[in-house]
C-alpha cells in the first residue's frame, strides 16, 4: 500500500515535472535578465501618458512591473516587420501585447498556457459561430459576444489599424497577429497585472457565468464559495508564492484547484490539465492529455486509442507532431485530488469524486446518449434537415447538453447542490420528457414511436414510465406521505 501510494506520488510529480520543468513548486521566476528591462524610451511614454491616459498610467505605476523597472516599451515594443507594428512618437510599437511578448519574461507560464483549453478556445467554437451567431442571430454579435470570451482572430488592416470586427478583444484564446494564441489580460487585468486580482474568483467570472457555464454561480453556492466570502481577508492573495495549505488555507478559489500549487503539486497555467472529464460536450467522456515534443497539447477522448511515446500524432491545428507522452484521465484526476487532499481526507475526496462521476454517468446514459442517438436517427431518415436550429427540436437538444446538461455536470463537479439538481439535472429530466420527446414525436411522424422505444422506453432507466399506476402525493394526489405534514 505504502509503496503504491509512493509510486502514485512519484508519477504525479513526474506529471508536474514534465509539464512544468524541474523544481517549480513555487511560482516561476521570470527568465529575462533584469538588465534587459527598462527600455530607454519608456520614460518618455510614461511622461506623456501620465497626462493623456492618467488612469492607465496610474495602474502601471502601482504595479509590480513599475516597481521592477519594467516600462511601456518593454511590453509594447515591436519589430518594424511585425504585421501590427505601428510608429508612435518615434518608436515602433504594437498595441497588442501577445502571450509571445509576455513570454519574453514569463516563459514558463506561456509555455504552459500554449495548447491549453484556454489557448485553444477559438477552435472550440469554430463551426458553432456560423450556426449560432450568424444564422440564429446575426454576425454583429460575434465581436461583442462569442469573441469576447473565446477570443477573436485579430485582423490587421492594410492601413495598420486593427479591424474593429476583431478588436478590441481580450478573449482567452485570441489568435494574435504574431500567431500566438491567448490573451494574458483576459485574467490579468491591464495595466496593474496584480497577482492578487488574478487569484480571485472574479478573474474568471466574465466568461464562466451564465446559463451554459455557471461556474461563478456554482462556486458562490458551494461551501468553497461560502468560506471564501467569509475569509477573503485571510486568503493571502498578494503572497509571492501561493501554495494551498502552506500560504493559505481559509478557502479555495477557481485558481486554487484548476491552476494553483498545493503540497507537492506545482502550479500550472494549463487550466484544463487537471480535468479528467470533458464536461462541455453532448456526451461527456474522460480524456487523455497528449503532450507533444514541440510543446503543443491535445485532449483526446478516452474512447479513442491514445498514441504511444515517439509516435507522430495529429494535433489540434491539423498538423502532426511527435508525441512526448500521454497523461491518462486518472492521472489528471489525481492531480486535481492532490489539491483536495490539502484540506480533505482521502476518503472524503474520493467519495466526492464518486458522487460527481455518478452524475456525469447518469446524464450520459439516461439522457445524453439516447438523445444523441434519436437525433442521429432523425437526421439519417431525413426527418430533420442537416441545417441546425431550423427545427425547434434542435434547440431543445442543444440546450439539453449545452445548458441544463452542463449546469448539472458543473454543479456536481464543484459542489453546488442547487445547480446539480434544480438548475441542472431537474431541467434535463423535465425538458427531455416534456419537450424533447414530444418534439421528436412531432417531427418523427409514424416512425417516432419506434425510434423512442428503441432509445428510451426499452431502456432500464426509463422503465418508470411503464408503471402509470404508481401514485405519489408530490402533486397533492394519491395516498398521503407517511409522517408528512
Amino acid at each position: 500500500m505504502g509503496r503504491r501510494y509512493r509510486s502514485r506520488w512519484l508519477s504525479l510529480l513526474m506529471l508536474g515535472g514534465l509539464v512544468l520543468g524541474p523544481g517549480l513548486a513555487l511560482a516561476a521566476k521570470v527568465k529575462l535578465e533584469p538588465s534587459n528591462w527598462g527600455h530607454p524610451a519608456g520614460e518618455a511614454c510614461a511622461s506623456c501618458h501620465a497626462k493623456s491616459s492618467a488612469g492607465l498610467h496610474q495602474q502601471w505605476q502601482e504595479s509590480a512591473h513599475a516597481k521592477a523597472g519594467v516600462n511601456c516599451m518593454d511590453c509594447h515594443q515591436a519589430a518594424r516587420e511585425d504585421s501590427d507594428a505601428i510608429e508612435h512618437e518615434g518608436q515602433v510599437i504594437a498595441t497588442i501585447v501577445s502571450p509571445k511578448d509576455c513570454g519574453r519574461c514569463h516563459t514558463v507560464e506561456v509555455e504552459e498556457q500554449q495548447g491549453s483549453v484556454h489557448a485553444e478556445a477559438v477552435a472550440v467554437v469554430g463551426e458553432r459561430i456560423k450556426a449560432l451567431a450568424d444564422n440564429l442571430t446575426g454576425p454583429a454579435i460575434q465581436a461583442a459576444g462569442c469573441d469576447q470570451c473565446h477570443g477573436s482572430v485579430v485582423k490587421v488592416r492594410g492601413d495598420g489599424t486593427l479591424d474593429p470586427a476583431t478588436w478590441p478583444n481580450s478573449g482567452i484564446g485570441r489568435v494574435n497577429p504574431d500567431g500566438s494564441k491567448g490573451s494574458c489580460s483576459a485574467c490579468h487585468g491591464r495595466h496593474a497585472f496584480s497577482r492578487a486580482q488574478a487569484r480571485e474568483p472574479e478573474a474568471c467570472v466574465r466568461c464562466h457565468a451564465g446559463p451554459d457555464s455557471p461556474d461563478k454561480e456554482v462556486f458562490e453556492a458551494s461551501k468553497h464559495g461560502m468560506l471564501y466570502a467569509a475569509n477573503r481577508d485571510k486568503m493571502n492573495l498578494s503572497s509571492e508564492t501561493w501554495v494551498a495549505g502552506k500560504d493559505y488555507s481559509a478557502a479555495p478559489t477557481c485558481a486554487t484547484c484548476h491552476m494553483g500549487a498545493a503540497g507537492k503539486l506545482p502550479p500550472s497555467h494549463d487550466v484544463g490539465m487537471r480535468d479528467a472529464w470533458r464536461l462541455n460536450s453532448p456526451v461527456s467522456e474522460k480524456q487523455y492529455l497528449v503532450m507533444f515534443v514541440d510543446g503543443d497539447k491535445r485532449d483526446l477522448p478516452e474512447s479513442q486509442e491514445p498514441p504511444k511515446r515517439g509516435e507522430q500524432f495529429l494535433k489540434n491545428d491539423g498538423t502532426e507532431a511527435e508525441v512526448k507522452f500521454v497523461i491518462p484521465p486518472d492521472r489528471r484526476r489525481q492531480a486535481m485530488q492532490a489539491v483536495c487532499l490539502e484540506c480533505h481526507s482521502k476518503a472524503v475526496t474520493e467519495g466526492f469524486m464518486k458522487q460527481f462521476d455518478n452524475v456525469v454517468e447518469l446524464f450520459n446514459t439516461k439522457f445524453a446518449i439516447p438523445a444523441r442517438d434519436i437525433m442521429a436517427d432523425l437526421y439519417a431518415s431525413g426527418k430533420l434537415t442537416p441545417l441546425p436550429f431550423d427545427e425547434p427540436v434542435e434547440l431543445t437538444y442543444w440546450e439539453l447538453w449545452h445548458d441544463e446538461g452542463a449546469r448539472a455536470r458543473h454543479g456536481a463537479s464543484m459542489a453546488s447542490p442547487n445547480h446539480a439538481w434544480w438548475e441542472g439535472m431537474y431541467l434535463v429530466g423535465r425538458n427531455f420528457y416534456s419537450r424533447f420527446l414530444p418534439q421528436v414525436r412531432e417531427v418523427g411522424g409514424p416512425e417516432a414511436s419506434a425510434i423512442i422505444d428503441r432509445h428510451v422506453t426499452d431502456k432500464e432507466q426509463h422503465q418508470w414510465l411503464k408503471q402509470p399506476q404508481q401514485a405519489n402525493p408530490i402533486l397533492g394526489f394519491g395516498k398521503p406521505e407517511a409522517g408528512g405534514g
Partner: protein, 213 residues
C-alpha cells in the same frame, strides 16, 4: 541750385525699358500672388478628378467642418507662406499635374480610384516629409502652441511639456486624409490586399496595377 539731370546713359529707350520692365515686373508679381492664391483654392485643386478622392476625406474632417467656423483650404496646409515659397511649392506640385496628364495618355490613370488608393501612401510619406522639413510652418499659420488648451484636462500640459524638439507633424498625422501608416512600418502587400478587398479585386491585381507604369 543744382539741376537734376538723368545720367547720360539713361537714354529715352532705357527709360522706356525701365518703366516698361518695372511695370511688367509689378504685373508679374501681382500675377504670381493672384495665381498662387487662385491655385491654392479648393476649387482649383479639385479640378483634377484624382484630387476629389482627397477632397472626400477632407470634407469629413475637422479642418473642413468645425464649431469655430474656420475652414482650412487645400493651400492653407499644403502651400507655403510668401509668394516665392508658394510659387516654388506650386512648381513642385506641378509634377502631379504632369503625372495626371501623362497618366491619361499612357497610364496609370490617377482618375481611377484604385490607382489613387494604391499610390496614396507614397503621396502621404512625401507630404509628411514636406511638413517636417518646413517645421510644420503651415500648421502654425493658425495653431499657436502656447494657445493650445484642448478640451481634455491634460491637452494643454502635454503641449507645454512634451513637445520639445518636436514638430506638429511628428504627432499629428492622418488628421484629414485617409489613414496611412508610418513609412517605417508600412507594408505594401498588406496595403494592396486592403485595396483589393475594398474594390472587390482579385488577389494580385493591385500589385499588377500599381506596377503598370
Amino acid at each position: 541750385m543744382v539741376k537734376l539731370r538723368a545720367p547720360l546713359f539713361i537714354t529715352r529707350h532705357v527709360l522706356f525699358a525701365l518703366v516698361g520692365g518695372g511695370a511688367a515686373g509689378i504685373l508679374f508679381m501681382a500675377f504670381l500672388i493672384e495665381f498662387d492664391h487662385f491655385s491654392s483654392s479648393n476649387a482649383f485643386c479639385t479640378t483634377c478628378h484624382s484630387m476629389s478622392f482627397a477632397e472626400e476625406s477632407y470634407k469629413a474632417s475637422v479642418h473642413y467642418n468645425n464649431a469655430s467656423g474656420v475652414r482650412a483650404s487645400c493651400g492653407d496646409c499644403h502651400v507655403s507662406e510668401g509668394v516665392f515659397a508658394a510659387t516654388w511649392d506650386h512648381a513642385v506640385g506641378g509634377k502631379d499635374l504632369l503625372k495626371q496628364i501623362k497618366g491619361k495618355l499612357f497610364g496609370p490613370d490617377y482618375d481611377d480610384p484604385v490607382v489613387t488608393a494604391l499610390h496614396l501612401p507614397e503621396a502621404a510619406f512625401a507630404a509628411r516629409k514636406w511638413f517636417k522639413a518646413k517645421d510644420s510652418a503651415t500648421c502654425k499659420r493658425c495653431h499657436e502652441l502656447e494657445a493650445i488648451e484642448g478640451k481634455r484636462a491634460d491637452t494643454a500640459a502635454i503641449h507645454r511639456e512634451e513637445t520639445a524638439g518636436k514638430s506638429c507633424i511628428d504627432c499629428h498625422i492622418n488628421l484629414v486624409h485617409r489613414k496611412v501608416p508610418g513609412e517605417e512600418t508600412f507594408k505594401r502587400d498588406a496595403w494592396n490586399r486592403m485595396v483589393e478587398e475594398e474594390f472587390g479585386l482579385k488577389e494580385g491585381e493591385a500589385a499588377a496595377r500599381f506596377g503598370a507604369h
